[in-house]
Protein backbone atom coordinates (compact mmCIF):
# COMPACT_ATOMS: atom_id res chain seq x y z
CA UNK A 1 0.00 0.00 0.00
CA UNK A 2 1.20 3.48 -0.86
CA UNK A 3 1.92 5.91 1.96
CA UNK A 4 -0.63 8.72 2.31
CA UNK A 5 0.92 10.48 5.29
CA UNK A 6 4.68 10.88 5.59
CA UNK A 7 6.13 12.74 8.54
CA UNK A 8 9.83 13.21 9.04
CA UNK A 9 11.59 14.85 11.95
CA UNK A 10 8.76 17.21 12.84
CA UNK A 11 9.31 19.77 15.57
CA UNK A 12 6.77 22.20 16.96
CA UNK A 13 7.17 24.89 19.57
CA UNK A 14 4.60 27.25 21.02
CA UNK A 15 6.35 30.36 22.36
CA UNK A 16 9.64 28.49 22.78
CA UNK A 17 7.82 25.71 24.63
CA UNK A 18 8.53 22.50 22.70
CA UNK A 19 5.43 20.36 22.13
CA UNK A 20 6.80 17.96 19.53
CA UNK A 21 10.38 17.07 18.79
CA UNK A 22 11.57 14.69 16.14
CA UNK A 23 8.26 13.06 15.25
CA UNK A 24 8.49 10.66 12.30
CA UNK A 25 5.95 8.15 11.03
CA UNK A 26 4.20 6.89 7.91
CA UNK A 27 0.57 6.00 7.37
CA UNK A 28 -0.47 3.87 4.42
CA UNK A 29 -3.58 4.41 2.33
CA UNK A 30 -6.56 2.53 3.72
CA UNK A 31 -5.08 2.00 7.17
CA UNK A 32 -6.81 2.73 10.44
CA UNK A 33 -4.09 4.18 12.61
CA UNK A 34 -4.39 4.84 16.29
CA UNK A 35 -2.21 7.59 17.74
CA UNK A 36 -1.93 6.82 21.42
CA UNK A 37 -0.50 8.94 24.14
CA UNK A 38 -1.27 10.63 27.43
CA UNK A 39 -3.12 13.94 27.62
CA UNK A 40 -1.01 16.85 26.47
CA UNK A 41 1.45 14.66 24.58
CA UNK A 42 0.81 16.53 21.31
CA UNK A 43 -1.77 14.33 19.55
CA UNK A 44 -4.04 17.20 18.54
CA UNK A 45 -1.03 19.27 17.50
CA UNK A 46 -0.08 16.53 15.02
CA UNK A 47 -3.59 16.62 13.46
CA UNK A 48 -3.38 20.42 13.15
CA UNK A 49 0.05 20.17 11.53
CA UNK A 50 -1.08 17.52 9.05
CA UNK A 51 -3.91 19.80 7.91
CA UNK A 52 -1.80 22.91 7.60
CA UNK A 53 -3.75 24.77 10.28
CA UNK A 54 -0.49 25.44 12.10
CA UNK A 55 3.07 25.38 10.84
CA UNK A 56 5.83 23.09 12.03
CA UNK A 57 8.98 24.65 13.47
CA UNK A 58 11.08 22.12 11.56
CA UNK A 59 10.72 18.87 9.63
CA UNK A 60 8.89 17.61 6.59
CA UNK A 61 5.26 16.56 6.17
CA UNK A 62 3.52 15.16 3.09
CA UNK A 63 -0.17 14.30 3.03
CA UNK A 64 -1.25 12.68 -0.22
CA UNK A 65 2.02 14.09 -1.57
CA UNK A 66 1.02 17.64 -0.66
CA UNK A 67 2.90 19.90 1.69
CA UNK A 68 0.43 21.20 4.33
CA UNK A 69 2.19 24.56 4.45
CA UNK A 70 1.91 25.41 0.76
CA UNK A 71 -0.85 23.05 -0.40
CA UNK A 72 -2.96 22.86 2.75
CA UNK A 73 -6.04 23.82 0.77
CA UNK A 74 -5.86 20.59 -1.26
CA UNK A 75 -5.34 18.54 1.89
CA UNK A 76 -8.27 20.14 3.69
CA UNK A 77 -10.53 19.32 0.74
CA UNK A 78 -9.93 15.59 1.09
CA UNK A 79 -9.79 15.38 4.85
CA UNK A 80 -12.51 15.27 7.45
CA UNK A 81 -11.93 16.26 11.05
CA UNK A 82 -13.62 15.69 14.33
CA UNK A 83 -11.95 17.96 16.86
CA UNK A 84 -12.13 17.43 20.58
CA UNK A 85 -14.80 20.05 21.17
CA UNK A 86 -16.55 19.16 17.87
CA UNK A 87 -16.57 22.90 16.95
CA UNK A 88 -20.28 23.25 16.30
CA UNK A 89 -22.49 26.35 16.49
CA UNK A 90 -24.63 25.94 19.58
CA UNK A 91 -27.14 28.59 18.59
CA UNK A 92 -27.85 26.83 15.29
CA UNK A 93 -29.89 23.66 14.82
CA UNK A 94 -28.17 20.36 14.12
CA UNK A 95 -29.22 20.27 10.49
CA UNK A 96 -28.26 23.94 9.95
CA UNK A 97 -24.78 23.18 11.26
CA UNK A 98 -24.45 20.37 8.73
CA UNK A 99 -25.81 22.50 5.89
CA UNK A 100 -23.35 25.28 6.76
CA UNK A 101 -20.27 23.07 6.94
CA UNK A 102 -21.52 21.10 3.94
CA UNK A 103 -21.46 24.26 1.84
CA UNK A 104 -17.91 25.05 2.97
CA UNK A 105 -16.88 21.57 1.83
CA UNK A 106 -18.85 21.95 -1.40
CA UNK A 107 -21.57 19.46 -0.42
CA UNK A 108 -25.12 20.58 -1.03
CA UNK A 109 -26.71 17.17 -0.82
CA UNK A 110 -29.73 17.24 1.50
CA UNK A 111 -30.39 13.51 0.94
CA UNK A 112 -26.93 12.68 2.22
CA UNK A 113 -27.37 14.93 5.25
CA UNK A 114 -30.71 13.28 6.07
CA UNK A 115 -29.27 9.80 5.55
CA UNK A 116 -26.37 10.47 7.90
CA UNK A 117 -28.68 12.00 10.52
CA UNK A 118 -30.73 8.81 10.27
CA UNK A 119 -27.63 6.57 10.52
CA UNK A 120 -26.44 8.35 13.64
CA UNK A 121 -29.91 8.48 15.18
CA UNK A 122 -30.14 12.25 15.16
CA UNK A 123 -32.92 12.64 12.59
CA UNK A 124 -35.53 13.37 15.27
CA UNK A 125 -33.33 16.00 16.89
CA UNK A 126 -32.12 17.80 13.77
CA UNK A 127 -34.27 20.91 14.29
CA UNK A 128 -33.15 21.39 17.89
CA UNK A 129 -30.39 23.81 18.70
CA UNK A 130 -27.04 22.10 19.20
CA UNK A 131 -26.73 23.89 22.56
CA UNK A 132 -29.50 21.62 23.87
CA UNK A 133 -27.76 18.42 22.68
CA UNK A 134 -26.13 15.98 25.09
CA UNK A 135 -22.36 15.43 24.85
CA UNK A 136 -22.93 12.21 22.94
CA UNK A 137 -25.29 13.85 20.45
CA UNK A 138 -22.82 16.67 19.81
CA UNK A 139 -20.07 14.15 19.17
CA UNK A 140 -22.22 12.17 16.76
CA UNK A 141 -23.15 15.37 14.91
CA UNK A 142 -19.45 16.24 14.85
CA UNK A 143 -18.72 12.91 13.21
CA UNK A 144 -21.40 13.50 10.57
CA UNK A 145 -19.82 16.90 9.91
CA UNK A 146 -16.46 15.17 9.47
CA UNK A 147 -17.66 12.55 6.98
CA UNK A 148 -20.22 14.66 5.09
CA UNK A 149 -17.96 15.15 2.07
CA UNK A 150 -16.72 11.56 1.93
CA UNK A 151 -13.15 12.40 2.91
CA UNK A 152 -10.16 10.35 1.76
CA UNK A 153 -8.55 10.78 5.17
CA UNK A 154 -10.51 11.06 8.34
CA UNK A 155 -8.95 12.57 11.47
CA UNK A 156 -10.76 11.75 14.67
CA UNK A 157 -9.63 13.34 17.92
CA UNK A 158 -11.00 11.30 20.82
CA UNK A 159 -14.05 10.15 18.84
CA UNK A 160 -15.62 8.16 21.66
CA UNK A 161 -15.18 10.76 24.41
CA UNK A 162 -18.41 11.29 26.30
CA UNK A 163 -20.33 8.59 24.45
CA UNK A 164 -22.42 5.88 26.11
CA UNK A 165 -21.68 2.23 25.23
CA UNK A 166 -24.29 2.33 22.46
CA UNK A 167 -22.77 5.48 21.00
CA UNK A 168 -19.27 4.03 21.16
CA UNK A 169 -20.46 0.95 19.29
CA UNK A 170 -22.16 3.10 16.67
CA UNK A 171 -19.05 5.19 16.09
CA UNK A 172 -16.66 2.26 15.93
CA UNK A 173 -19.00 0.42 13.58
CA UNK A 174 -19.09 3.47 11.32
CA UNK A 175 -15.33 3.86 11.31
CA UNK A 176 -15.06 0.24 10.27
CA UNK A 177 -17.70 0.58 7.53
CA UNK A 178 -16.14 3.75 6.10
CA UNK A 179 -12.79 2.04 5.92
CA UNK A 180 -14.12 -1.13 4.34
CA UNK A 181 -16.59 0.49 1.93
CA UNK A 182 -14.69 3.53 0.74
CA UNK A 183 -11.12 2.67 1.71
CA UNK A 184 -11.02 5.79 3.89
CA UNK A 185 -7.73 6.17 5.73
CA UNK A 186 -8.50 6.85 9.37
CA UNK A 187 -6.19 8.56 11.80
CA UNK A 188 -7.56 8.54 15.29
CA UNK A 189 -6.24 9.86 18.55
CA UNK A 190 -7.33 8.36 21.79
CA UNK A 191 -6.35 7.51 25.29
CA UNK A 192 -9.25 5.12 25.84
CA UNK A 193 -7.30 2.16 24.60
CA UNK A 194 -9.66 -0.79 24.90
CA UNK A 195 -12.23 0.99 22.73
CA UNK A 196 -10.04 1.48 19.69
CA UNK A 197 -8.36 -1.89 19.95
CA UNK A 198 -10.94 -3.57 17.77
CA UNK A 199 -10.71 -1.08 14.88
CA UNK A 200 -7.09 -0.02 14.44
CA UNK A 201 -4.72 -1.83 12.12
CA UNK A 202 -1.65 0.07 13.26
CA UNK A 203 -0.55 2.03 16.29
CA UNK A 204 1.70 4.98 16.97
CA UNK A 205 2.75 5.61 20.55
CA UNK A 206 3.41 9.25 21.34
CA UNK A 207 5.12 10.23 24.56
CA UNK A 208 7.01 13.34 25.60
CA UNK A 209 6.57 14.85 22.13
CA UNK A 210 8.00 12.00 20.13
CA UNK A 211 6.85 8.69 18.61
CA UNK A 212 8.36 6.09 20.89
CA UNK A 213 7.04 3.03 19.09
CA UNK A 214 4.87 2.00 16.15
CA UNK A 215 3.59 -1.11 14.45
CA UNK A 216 0.71 -3.55 14.21
CA UNK A 217 -0.55 -5.15 17.35
CA UNK A 218 1.04 -8.52 16.62
CA UNK A 219 4.37 -6.86 15.84
CA UNK A 220 4.27 -5.03 19.14
CA UNK A 221 3.17 -8.14 20.98
CA UNK A 222 6.10 -10.14 19.66
CA UNK A 223 8.45 -7.36 20.63
CA UNK A 224 7.14 -6.52 24.08
CA UNK A 225 5.23 -9.44 25.51
CA UNK A 226 7.86 -11.72 26.99
CA UNK A 227 5.64 -13.74 29.29
CA UNK A 228 2.04 -14.73 28.80
CA UNK A 229 -0.44 -14.57 31.60
CA UNK A 230 -3.36 -17.01 30.98
CA UNK A 231 -6.49 -17.23 33.05
CA UNK A 232 -8.20 -20.60 32.77
CA UNK A 233 -11.52 -21.64 34.30
CA UNK A 234 -10.95 -25.28 35.21
CA UNK A 235 -11.24 -27.85 38.00
CA UNK A 236 -7.64 -28.96 37.43
CA UNK A 237 -5.50 -29.82 40.44
CA UNK A 238 -2.39 -27.74 40.03
CA UNK A 239 -0.25 -30.22 41.89
CA UNK A 240 -0.85 -32.74 39.13
CA UNK A 241 0.41 -30.39 36.40
CA UNK A 242 3.93 -29.89 35.07
CA UNK A 243 5.69 -27.34 37.36
CA UNK A 244 6.93 -25.63 34.17
CA UNK A 245 3.53 -23.93 34.11
CA UNK A 246 3.91 -21.41 36.90
CA UNK A 247 0.71 -20.65 38.78
CA UNK A 248 0.52 -17.06 40.01
CA UNK A 249 -3.02 -16.97 41.27
CA UNK A 250 -5.87 -19.32 42.07
CA UNK A 251 -9.33 -17.97 42.75
CA UNK A 252 -11.81 -20.85 43.04
CA UNK A 253 -11.92 -22.49 39.63
CA UNK A 254 -10.01 -19.62 37.99
CA UNK A 255 -6.28 -20.31 37.75
CA UNK A 256 -3.77 -17.82 36.32
CA UNK A 257 -0.63 -19.30 34.74
CA UNK A 258 2.50 -17.59 33.49
CA UNK A 259 3.89 -19.10 30.28
CA UNK A 260 7.15 -18.31 28.56
CA UNK A 261 5.76 -18.46 25.01
CA UNK A 262 2.38 -18.68 23.33
CA UNK A 263 3.34 -22.13 22.08
CA UNK A 264 3.15 -23.48 25.61
CA UNK A 265 -0.58 -22.75 25.80
CA UNK A 266 -1.90 -25.67 23.69
CA UNK A 267 0.41 -28.00 25.57
CA UNK A 268 -0.91 -26.84 28.92
CA UNK A 269 -4.52 -27.19 27.80
CA UNK A 270 -3.80 -30.63 26.39
CA UNK A 271 -2.31 -31.73 29.71
CA UNK A 272 -5.32 -30.50 31.68
CA UNK A 273 -7.77 -32.24 29.38
CA UNK A 274 -5.73 -35.43 29.26
CA UNK A 275 -6.00 -35.68 33.04
CA UNK A 276 -9.80 -35.68 32.69
CA UNK A 277 -10.30 -32.14 34.06
CA UNK A 278 -12.74 -29.77 32.36
CA UNK A 279 -11.98 -26.35 30.89
CA UNK A 280 -14.75 -23.75 30.52
CA UNK A 281 -12.82 -20.63 29.60
CA UNK A 282 -9.34 -19.57 28.48
CA UNK A 283 -8.14 -15.98 28.27
CA UNK A 284 -4.74 -14.43 27.59
CA UNK A 285 -4.65 -11.49 29.93
CA UNK A 286 -1.69 -9.30 29.09
CA UNK A 287 -2.07 -8.99 25.34
CA UNK A 288 -4.56 -6.12 25.28
CA UNK A 289 -3.57 -2.71 24.05
CA UNK A 290 -3.54 -1.24 27.51
CA UNK A 291 -0.92 -3.74 28.73
CA UNK A 292 1.14 -3.06 25.62
CA UNK A 293 0.86 0.67 26.17
CA UNK A 294 2.19 0.51 29.69
CA UNK A 295 4.82 -2.02 28.69
CA UNK A 296 6.10 0.22 25.88
CA UNK A 297 6.04 3.39 27.96
CA UNK A 298 7.76 1.55 30.81
CA UNK A 299 10.53 0.19 28.59
CA UNK A 300 11.07 3.53 26.84
CA UNK A 301 11.20 5.45 30.10
CA UNK A 302 13.74 2.97 31.49
CA UNK A 303 15.85 3.53 28.39
CA UNK A 304 16.12 7.22 29.11
Amino acid sequence: MAPIIQVEGIQKQFDARPVLHDVSFTVNKGDIVGLLGPNGSGKTTIIRLLNGVIEATAGKILVNNWDPHSQGHDIRKISGILTDGAGLYHEMSGVDNLRFFGKLYGVNDETRIQQLLEDFQLADHQQKKVGTYSTGMKRRLGIIKAILHNPTILFLDEPTNGLDPEGIQMVLQNIHTLNKQYGTTIFLCSHILHQIESVCTQYLFLDHGTIIESGTKSELETKYIKEISVKIETNADINQLNPLYKVVKQDGSFITFILQTKDQLPKLLEEILKKQFWIHHVEIQNRDLESLYFQIRGVKNEDK
Binding site: V53, Y89, L104
Partner: protein, 278 residues
Protein backbone atom coordinates in the same frame (compact mmCIF):
# COMPACT_ATOMS: atom_id res chain seq x y z
CA UNK B 1 -6.19 31.66 -5.61
CA UNK B 2 -9.61 32.59 -6.95
CA UNK B 3 -12.10 33.71 -4.35
CA UNK B 4 -15.05 31.37 -4.00
CA UNK B 5 -18.05 33.72 -3.77
CA UNK B 6 -20.35 30.95 -2.71
CA UNK B 7 -18.21 30.21 0.34
CA UNK B 8 -17.90 33.91 1.18
CA UNK B 9 -21.71 34.32 1.15
CA UNK B 10 -22.20 31.14 3.15
CA UNK B 11 -20.04 32.58 5.94
CA UNK B 12 -21.63 36.03 5.70
CA UNK B 13 -25.18 34.64 5.70
CA UNK B 14 -24.44 32.39 8.67
CA UNK B 15 -23.35 35.44 10.67
CA UNK B 16 -26.20 37.64 9.46
CA UNK B 17 -28.70 34.95 10.48
CA UNK B 18 -26.93 34.81 13.83
CA UNK B 19 -27.59 38.54 14.26
CA UNK B 20 -31.22 38.51 13.14
CA UNK B 21 -32.14 35.43 15.15
CA UNK B 22 -30.69 36.78 18.38
CA UNK B 23 -33.21 39.20 19.88
CA UNK B 24 -30.77 40.81 22.28
CA UNK B 25 -28.26 41.59 19.53
CA UNK B 26 -31.01 42.79 17.22
CA UNK B 27 -32.51 45.11 19.84
CA UNK B 28 -29.04 46.50 20.54
CA UNK B 29 -28.60 47.31 16.87
CA UNK B 30 -32.05 48.87 16.45
CA UNK B 31 -31.95 51.10 19.54
CA UNK B 32 -29.26 53.37 18.12
CA UNK B 33 -31.03 54.18 14.82
CA UNK B 34 -34.21 54.64 16.80
CA UNK B 35 -32.59 57.28 18.99
CA UNK B 36 -30.66 59.10 16.28
CA UNK B 37 -33.10 58.81 13.39
CA UNK B 38 -36.48 58.96 15.12
CA UNK B 39 -36.60 60.12 18.72
CA UNK B 40 -33.90 62.76 18.66
CA UNK B 41 -34.92 64.61 15.46
CA UNK B 42 -38.62 64.48 16.32
CA UNK B 43 -38.06 65.81 19.81
CA UNK B 44 -35.65 68.47 18.61
CA UNK B 45 -37.78 69.84 15.78
CA UNK B 46 -40.97 69.83 17.83
CA UNK B 47 -39.23 71.49 20.76
CA UNK B 48 -37.87 74.30 18.62
CA UNK B 49 -41.16 74.74 16.86
CA UNK B 50 -43.46 74.82 19.85
CA UNK B 51 -41.30 76.14 22.63
CA UNK B 52 -39.99 79.58 22.05
CA UNK B 53 -36.30 79.21 22.66
CA UNK B 54 -34.32 81.61 24.68
CA UNK B 55 -31.12 79.59 24.77
CA UNK B 56 -28.43 81.81 23.47
CA UNK B 57 -26.24 78.77 22.68
CA UNK B 58 -28.50 77.57 19.89
CA UNK B 59 -28.80 81.11 18.63
CA UNK B 60 -25.04 81.52 18.55
CA UNK B 61 -24.56 78.13 16.90
CA UNK B 62 -27.16 78.81 14.23
CA UNK B 63 -25.64 82.19 13.50
CA UNK B 64 -22.17 80.66 13.30
CA UNK B 65 -23.37 78.05 10.84
CA UNK B 66 -25.24 80.64 8.83
CA UNK B 67 -22.23 82.92 8.62
CA UNK B 68 -20.10 79.94 7.57
CA UNK B 69 -22.32 79.15 4.62
CA UNK B 70 -21.09 80.39 1.28
CA UNK B 71 -23.04 83.25 -0.23
CA UNK B 72 -25.70 82.30 -2.71
CA UNK B 73 -28.55 79.78 -3.03
CA UNK B 74 -28.82 78.10 0.33
CA UNK B 75 -27.86 81.12 2.40
CA UNK B 76 -30.48 83.17 0.61
CA UNK B 77 -33.08 80.46 1.14
CA UNK B 78 -32.38 80.40 4.86
CA UNK B 79 -32.36 84.17 5.17
CA UNK B 80 -35.77 84.39 3.55
CA UNK B 81 -37.30 81.94 6.02
CA UNK B 82 -40.17 83.55 7.98
CA UNK B 83 -38.70 83.31 11.49
CA UNK B 84 -35.53 82.58 13.41
CA UNK B 85 -37.09 79.32 14.63
CA UNK B 86 -37.55 78.26 11.01
CA UNK B 87 -33.90 79.00 10.44
CA UNK B 88 -32.87 76.93 13.44
CA UNK B 89 -34.96 73.95 12.30
CA UNK B 90 -33.53 74.19 8.80
CA UNK B 91 -29.96 74.27 10.11
CA UNK B 92 -30.55 71.44 12.59
CA UNK B 93 -32.16 69.14 10.03
CA UNK B 94 -29.70 69.75 7.26
CA UNK B 95 -26.42 70.28 9.09
CA UNK B 96 -26.41 69.13 12.71
CA UNK B 97 -28.37 65.90 12.53
CA UNK B 98 -26.25 64.73 9.62
CA UNK B 99 -23.12 64.36 11.69
CA UNK B 100 -25.06 62.61 14.39
CA UNK B 101 -26.55 60.30 11.79
CA UNK B 102 -23.07 59.05 10.90
CA UNK B 103 -22.88 57.48 14.36
CA UNK B 104 -25.46 54.88 13.28
CA UNK B 105 -23.28 53.07 10.71
CA UNK B 106 -20.12 53.59 12.72
CA UNK B 107 -21.29 52.22 16.07
CA UNK B 108 -23.41 49.41 14.63
CA UNK B 109 -20.74 48.15 12.27
CA UNK B 110 -18.19 48.41 15.06
CA UNK B 111 -20.20 46.16 17.37
CA UNK B 112 -20.82 43.54 14.68
CA UNK B 113 -17.29 43.53 13.31
CA UNK B 114 -15.67 43.36 16.74
CA UNK B 115 -17.46 40.10 17.38
CA UNK B 116 -16.56 38.62 13.99
CA UNK B 117 -13.51 36.55 14.86
CA UNK B 118 -13.62 36.77 18.62
CA UNK B 119 -17.13 35.30 18.54
CA UNK B 120 -15.81 32.26 16.69
CA UNK B 121 -12.90 31.96 19.10
CA UNK B 122 -15.11 32.17 22.18
CA UNK B 123 -17.46 29.52 20.78
CA UNK B 124 -14.57 27.24 19.84
CA UNK B 125 -15.65 27.21 16.20
CA UNK B 126 -12.73 29.09 14.65
CA UNK B 127 -10.70 25.90 14.57
CA UNK B 128 -13.52 24.11 12.74
CA UNK B 129 -13.48 26.86 10.13
CA UNK B 130 -9.69 26.75 9.80
CA UNK B 131 -9.91 23.01 9.13
CA UNK B 132 -12.30 23.54 6.20
CA UNK B 133 -11.11 24.12 2.62
CA UNK B 134 -11.69 27.87 2.72
CA UNK B 135 -8.97 30.46 2.40
CA UNK B 136 -8.35 32.94 5.20
CA UNK B 137 -9.09 35.67 2.64
CA UNK B 138 -12.56 34.22 2.00
CA UNK B 139 -13.13 34.05 5.74
CA UNK B 140 -12.15 37.73 6.13
CA UNK B 141 -14.34 38.88 3.25
CA UNK B 142 -17.26 36.86 4.62
CA UNK B 143 -16.79 38.51 8.00
CA UNK B 144 -16.57 41.99 6.47
CA UNK B 145 -19.76 41.41 4.49
CA UNK B 146 -21.59 40.05 7.51
CA UNK B 147 -21.04 43.41 9.22
CA UNK B 148 -21.42 45.59 6.11
CA UNK B 149 -24.75 44.28 4.84
CA UNK B 150 -26.78 44.62 8.07
CA UNK B 151 -25.18 48.00 8.82
CA UNK B 152 -26.11 49.40 5.42
CA UNK B 153 -29.64 48.02 5.66
CA UNK B 154 -30.01 49.71 9.06
CA UNK B 155 -28.42 52.93 7.83
CA UNK B 156 -30.57 53.28 4.72
CA UNK B 157 -33.63 52.16 6.67
CA UNK B 158 -32.87 54.85 9.27
CA UNK B 159 -32.42 57.44 6.54
CA UNK B 160 -35.81 56.62 5.02
CA UNK B 161 -37.46 56.66 8.44
CA UNK B 162 -35.71 59.90 9.34
CA UNK B 163 -36.78 61.40 6.00
CA UNK B 164 -40.42 60.42 6.41
CA UNK B 165 -40.63 61.69 9.98
CA UNK B 166 -38.74 64.91 9.34
CA UNK B 167 -40.74 65.70 6.23
CA UNK B 168 -43.99 64.88 7.99
CA UNK B 169 -43.12 67.37 10.72
CA UNK B 170 -41.42 70.09 8.66
CA UNK B 171 -43.66 70.12 5.60
CA UNK B 172 -46.54 71.88 7.37
CA UNK B 173 -44.10 74.28 9.07
CA UNK B 174 -42.31 75.29 5.88
CA UNK B 175 -45.09 74.61 3.39
CA UNK B 176 -42.58 72.63 1.37
CA UNK B 177 -39.71 70.17 1.45
CA UNK B 178 -36.52 71.13 3.25
CA UNK B 179 -35.16 67.58 3.14
CA UNK B 180 -33.21 65.84 1.68
CA UNK B 181 -30.58 67.96 0.03
CA UNK B 182 -27.46 66.89 -1.89
CA UNK B 183 -25.49 66.76 1.34
CA UNK B 184 -27.76 64.17 2.87
CA UNK B 185 -27.69 61.99 -0.23
CA UNK B 186 -23.90 62.12 -0.27
CA UNK B 187 -23.74 61.46 3.45
CA UNK B 188 -25.91 58.36 3.30
CA UNK B 189 -24.93 56.87 -0.02
CA UNK B 190 -21.30 57.91 -0.31
CA UNK B 191 -19.72 58.68 3.06
CA UNK B 192 -21.68 56.15 5.16
CA UNK B 193 -20.69 53.04 3.17
CA UNK B 194 -17.08 54.18 3.08
CA UNK B 195 -16.85 55.03 6.76
CA UNK B 196 -18.67 51.76 7.56
CA UNK B 197 -16.17 49.76 5.55
CA UNK B 198 -13.32 51.66 7.21
CA UNK B 199 -14.66 50.83 10.68
CA UNK B 200 -15.29 47.20 9.77
CA UNK B 201 -11.85 46.63 8.27
CA UNK B 202 -10.14 47.98 11.36
CA UNK B 203 -12.40 46.12 13.80
CA UNK B 204 -12.19 42.82 11.94
CA UNK B 205 -8.41 43.04 12.17
CA UNK B 206 -8.65 43.83 15.88
CA UNK B 207 -11.09 40.94 16.33
CA UNK B 208 -8.76 38.53 14.52
CA UNK B 209 -5.96 39.46 16.90
CA UNK B 210 -7.92 39.44 20.17
CA UNK B 211 -8.55 36.50 22.44
CA UNK B 212 -11.79 37.67 24.02
CA UNK B 213 -14.66 40.00 23.16
CA UNK B 214 -13.76 42.21 26.10
CA UNK B 215 -10.22 42.61 24.82
CA UNK B 216 -11.46 43.32 21.31
CA UNK B 217 -13.94 45.88 22.62
CA UNK B 218 -11.30 47.77 24.56
CA UNK B 219 -8.71 47.82 21.80
CA UNK B 220 -11.30 48.28 19.05
CA UNK B 221 -12.90 51.21 20.83
CA UNK B 222 -9.55 52.85 21.44
CA UNK B 223 -8.51 52.51 17.82
CA UNK B 224 -11.66 53.53 16.05
CA UNK B 225 -13.47 56.06 18.22
CA UNK B 226 -10.91 58.89 18.09
CA UNK B 227 -10.55 58.58 14.32
CA UNK B 228 -14.24 58.35 13.66
CA UNK B 229 -14.97 60.96 16.29
CA UNK B 230 -12.82 63.32 14.30
CA UNK B 231 -14.78 62.72 11.12
CA UNK B 232 -18.16 62.79 12.81
CA UNK B 233 -17.22 65.94 14.70
CA UNK B 234 -16.13 67.62 11.51
CA UNK B 235 -19.11 66.43 9.52
CA UNK B 236 -21.16 69.51 10.34
CA UNK B 237 -18.33 71.66 9.09
CA UNK B 238 -18.02 69.59 5.93
CA UNK B 239 -21.74 69.79 5.32
CA UNK B 240 -21.63 73.57 5.71
CA UNK B 241 -18.68 74.15 3.45
CA UNK B 242 -19.79 72.11 0.47
CA UNK B 243 -20.74 68.71 -0.91
CA UNK B 244 -17.36 68.66 -2.67
CA UNK B 245 -15.62 68.34 0.69
CA UNK B 246 -17.82 65.34 1.51
CA UNK B 247 -16.82 63.80 -1.80
CA UNK B 248 -13.13 64.40 -1.15
CA UNK B 249 -13.23 63.13 2.42
CA UNK B 250 -14.98 60.01 1.17
CA UNK B 251 -12.35 59.58 -1.49
CA UNK B 252 -9.58 59.90 1.09
CA UNK B 253 -11.17 57.28 3.36
CA UNK B 254 -11.74 55.06 0.34
CA UNK B 255 -8.04 55.11 -0.39
CA UNK B 256 -7.30 54.16 3.21
CA UNK B 257 -9.79 51.32 2.83
CA UNK B 258 -7.94 50.04 -0.20
CA UNK B 259 -4.74 50.15 1.83
CA UNK B 260 -6.42 48.27 4.69
CA UNK B 261 -7.75 45.65 2.26
CA UNK B 262 -4.24 45.20 0.97
CA UNK B 263 -3.00 44.77 4.53
CA UNK B 264 -5.70 42.18 5.22
CA UNK B 265 -4.90 40.24 2.07
CA UNK B 266 -1.33 39.97 3.35
CA UNK B 267 -2.69 38.67 6.62
CA UNK B 268 -3.80 35.41 5.07
CA UNK B 269 -2.01 33.12 7.42
CA UNK B 270 -3.87 30.33 9.17
CA UNK B 271 -1.11 29.82 11.69
CA UNK B 272 -1.28 33.44 12.92
CA UNK B 273 -5.06 33.33 13.11
CA UNK B 274 -4.97 30.02 14.94
CA UNK B 275 -2.37 31.14 17.44
CA UNK B 276 -4.31 34.32 18.19
CA UNK B 277 -6.80 32.17 20.11
CA UNK B 278 -4.40 30.25 22.34
Amino acid sequence: MKINRHVVWTIAMKDIKGITSNKQVLIGLIILPLIFAVIFPTAFILLIHFVSLTSSDIEIMTNTILSGLPNGGIKDTINTLPSFNHQIIYVVVNYLLGSMFLLIPVINSMMIALNSFVGEKERGTLESLLFTPITVKELFIGKVLSAFVPTMVLTIGSFVLFGVITTAITYPIFNGFIFPNTNWILLVFWLSPIITLFTILIEVLVSARSKSFQEAQQIGGLVILPIVGLFVGQATGMLIISPIILLLVGLFLLMINVLLLFLISKYNNRNTLFESQV
